[in-house]
């Protein structure tokens, strides 16, 4: 997505007449990880609504001083109604990665934009998710390398015992989050996005209260991007010290000898990587019968062999943790397990700490959705494929959109941002529907896991339903020169495709830098590139990218799929 944006615009200050043309380039913006995000939202009650005024941003009326209006370069939505006055063209509730992505794109499209944040800019991803976890994982990756004697020996390296300073590691994560947070804040301020501090509450159509009751803002379009918070199942008592969520774990206030991780999805897996590298032993508790549900089964199996079995990790699958009591009075953390199917008590674990990584719940309470007759579904805001909010009767709520974790379509930071951009495109007149199957996901373990599109069982099911054949091609990192040079040959790339027309249905990678490698595949899916075309693209040698090159080349297509018609001579 928009890792760098070239934004060209002319800020037009309402107090000065002079115009300056500035070019902002490359707003560094790191997100990356699908740890889901959480933005903070809104509160308070609502009254009716007042302003029905419409507003055309070409003829903006400044309501408050000091706001910038931006020159509009894009097509405007001609909505036929007479220009009415709104405070903003676009108001985004929640300044996480989704809101940020939408805000930047909105400015590029010439919309007068404000973003409401009740907590800190950056939301979950930057403050309590992807970003700080990447700092911890960077440390764990290096620790692993330094601790892997035979690996170092194979490279001819000698390193004396590696150690770490917990506070130093924690500071690194914290500093990274602050840095990214200020980058994010500056990138929005610099292009004139108003950051309104306070919880946002929807009072009525096109009307939001920010913080105190006398601060009411109107906007032509509103995006809800309030994100999510860690989901803690019933019976689990989180004390923030010995029973923690990812929010606490990222502060790395302690490295327990033995930590149970409830949930073996991305979050749990990444934390197991961090904790085991720092010397903890880990016990996974997974409700489903298999670890890492949601991953392609073959990748999950390999991941288990690479990321679980050789490490100081054991696991209980097919069990629910019904009760978790924090350590107190000299007793350890006590976890009661029941069989997920029979519901019979199965086991009791006593550990030093427990990390609850059972997923994330949307943060949509007190958002004022009642005022516009929207009923959430398990907390998620119902939307259509264009992210337009649906009310309790299933009708579209005009001018209201919801992106990111709050709508639950795909709880990934970059998905939220992509959804935000698609909304901005729609409100500025272009009907862009986001193709979610082209959105990659990554898990930043060592080695990394990444994926885009369908898993093999999903693809086969779809093939059966729609009557097409599904084929699978695989390549091993063991066959890649660069991976072998790094002595990191462990890994697999898997391509799921249609042999009849060469369509890429899914790509799954486990191996060195898998998270960076996936984009060739996700771009191909997004752009509709077929195997018969992409297989002729050239990759530099020797690079890890050749793993994908091999993968595409090893796909066997039926003859009619050979696409580009040979040019007649």
């Amino acid at each position: 997505m928009q890792a760098s944006l070239s934004v060209s615009f002319s800020p037009n200050s309402s107090t000065t007449i002079s115009r300056s043309h500035n070019t902002f380039q490359s707003i560094p913006f790191s997100h990356g990880k699908p740890l889901n995000l959480r933005f903070c939202g809104l509160r308070r009650e609502a009254l009716g609504f007042t302003s029905l005024k419409r507003h055309d941003s070409n003829y903006r009326v400044h309501i408050s001083s000091g706001r910038h209006s931006n020159k509009v370069s894009a097509a405007l939505s001609a909505n036929g109604s007479p220009p009415k006055s709104f405070d903003y063209d676009l108001l985004i509730i929640g300044a996480g990665v989704g809101g940020h992505g939408a805000a930047l794109h909105a400015v590029e499209k010439g919309l007068k934009t404000a973003i409401v944040e009740g907590d800190v800019v950056g939301g979950t991803c930057v403050n309590r998710g992807c970003v700080p976890s990447k700092a911890l994982l960077a440390v764990s990756g290096r620790m692993r390398e330094l601790q892997s004697e035979h690996h170092l020996k194979a490279l001819g390296l000698q390193v004396s015992a590696a150690g770490y300073d917990r506070q130093g590691v924690a500071d690194h994560a914290n500093n990274l989050a602050s840095k990214i947070r200020s980058n994010l804040t500056n990138s929005m301020k610099a292009i004139g996005v108003d950051i309104l501090t306070g919880f946002g509450t929807i009072l009525g159509p096109q009307k939001v209260q920010v913080g105190s009751s006398n601060n009411i803002v109107t906007a032509k379009d509103i995006i809800i991007a309030t994100g999510s918070i860690p989901f803690v199942p019933k019976g689990i008592e989180v004390d923030g010290k010995t029973v923690i969520t990812s929010d606490h774990a990222l502060k790395l206030e302690s490295v327990p000898d033995w930590i149970a991780i409830v949930g073996s999805g991305y979050i749990g897996l990444e934390f197991s990587d961090v904790y085991t590298a720092l010397g903890s032993e880990v016990t996974f508790i997974e409700a489903l019968d298999q670890l890492m549900p949601g991953f392609d089964p073959e990748i999950g199996k390999l991941a288990q062999r690479v990321l679980i079995n050789p490490r100081k990790i054991d696991y209980h699958t097919g069990v629910f943790a019904t009760k978790i009591t924090p350590a107190r009075d000299g007793k350890p953390v006590i976890i009661e397990l029941i069989d997920a199917k029979t519901k019979e008590p199965k086991d009791t674990l006593e550990v030093d700490a427990a990390l609850i990584a059972t997923g994330r719940a949307p943060f949509t309470n007190d958002l004022g959705l009642d005022n516009i007759n929207v009923a959430t579904q398990r907390g998620f805001v119902p939307v259509d494929k264009r992210m337009r909010v649906l009310d309790a009767a299933g009708n579209l709520v005009p001018h209201l959109y919801c992106i990111g974790d709050a709508n639950g379509k795909m709880m990934l930071a970059h998905a939220a941002s992509a959804q935000g951009i698609s909304v901005v495109e729609q409100v500025t007149g272009r009907d862009l529907v986001l193709n979610h199957s082209s959105i990659p996901a990554a898990c930043f373990t060592h080695p990394e896991i990444s994926m885009v599109g369908l898993t093999e069982p999903q693809a086969r099911e779809k093939g059966e339903r729609e009557g097409f054949e599904v084929s699978v091609a695989k390549t091993s990192f063991k066959a890649n020169t660069k991976a072998l040079a790094e002595n990191e040959g462990e890994g697999l790339a898997k391509l799921i495709y249609r042999p009849d027309n060469g369509e890429i249905l899914g790509v799954h990678i486990l191996g060195l830098h898998a998270a960076d490698l996936i984009h060739e595949a996700s771009n191909a899916i997004a752009l509709g590139t077929r195997i018969q075309d992409i297989k002729f693209a050239v990759h530099a040698h020797p690079t890890l990218s050749e793993v994908l090159d091999e993968l595409f080349k090893s796909a066997k297509l039926k003859s009619q799929a050979s696409s580009p018609e040979p040019v007649a001579v």
Binding site: S160, A161, E298, P332, T348, L349, E350, A473, K474, K556
Partner: protein, 479 residues
Amino acid sequence: MARLLNSSFVPSSSSFRRRPTLPPAFHISGNRSRTTQVQAKIREILMPALSSTMTEGKIVSWIKSEGDKLSKGESVVVVESDKADMDVENFYDGYLAAIMVDEGGVATVGSAIALLAETEDEIAEAVSKASSSSSSSPATTAAESTSSPSSDPQEKIVDNAGPVPASKAPVTSGSVVASSTHPASEGGKRIVASPYAKKLAKELKVELGRVVGTGPLGRIVAKDVEAAAASDVAAVGSSPGVGAAATVPGKSAGIELGMVVPFTTMQGAVSRNMVESLAVPTFRVGYTISTGALDALYKKIKSKGVTMTALLAKATALALVKHPVVNSSCRDGKSFTYNSSINIAVAVAIDGGLITPVLQDADKVDIYSLSRKWKELVDKARAKQLQPHEYNTGTFTLSNLGMFGVDRFDAILPPGTGAIMAVGASQPTVVASKDGRIGMKNQMQVNVTADHRVIYGADLASFLQTLAKIIEDPKDLTF
């Protein structure tokens, strides 16, 4: 990888960047001949050779579990060779009666990894066969924390031979020596062990039920398992008919030349310790000590049950009192510990291995008590009943080969201790004295191996000088 053979995965082209992978089908079909018929109706499933260079294979996963009905051509197990993972197909209809090598286990090519029974009735027969004949140990899955350590080995064996035990069946390989003291372990009914401890227990074939936990709240942690493994002599020798134990008597009866013998638990533990010792920079200092006075003392108090080993241990302990650095240990390479007590470990050979019973506080205990203690420890060692604290708490080790007439040798420093002393035989030696005379003296050579990170040459030299003085004038040994 399960679908590998059915997918359109093309293992390789001839590209130089690819590693040649042999077409699986060819090799799998080669197995057919290997699936030899053991008996009329119970067949072994053997570790196939999946590539020309494969000597052993690791069981990645069992696709089928014990008791499952199998039909010909079905995939039973995924095996990791030196090149790739492959499904291994079954060539007969029948029931998977017993899995002999668990997931994660390694088996040499051609060895049996499971038994296949033709009918359901024969499963029990096959299971008993598996437990009596397997050369690689059967299902040594670490006892789950729910499983209770058996107090009755006999009963356990019956369990094991019963039809199709769950794959997590606890394996008892010896009598219950101790149970975890974890407060929540309900008097030893539950075992609380850390994940790595469980993994190690499985690897080292240590039964968690008899390991004493020293971790937080009495939990069993990795080092407890390692310590238990080091003493697993006990389990190997005495337990009847389970797992690796069963093969030991056979081996000692007659050694088949050219045979590859897997390490016993204890050999494995010794091997690990020995390799680990290479990480410590050691050096050696030798000394020749006259033993005339010691021999005389020994003769005098022998009748009171005093042994030479106790005397030597006592003398060493008294010397260590004056040289605490020689009794120190360095574990992390950054700091070292002056051990608070002087515990003399003495290496003892027992059938099939070696163990080091420890004389605790040898400097403080009088020679008669020390001798009694020593006798007790040796008896316990022979009966394989030493508790972990009786063999793994040594701070200084003595190794004596003098009884074989060895006049000098050199010992390997056990990890976690500062020094070990190799004691040779006391022999009459022609000695030239300063005044130009020649005489006969009983002398023995001792040779100390020490960790040079903490103990330096001068430390050892002065320690040996002190020791020589004590031995040459042994009146202090009896108080």
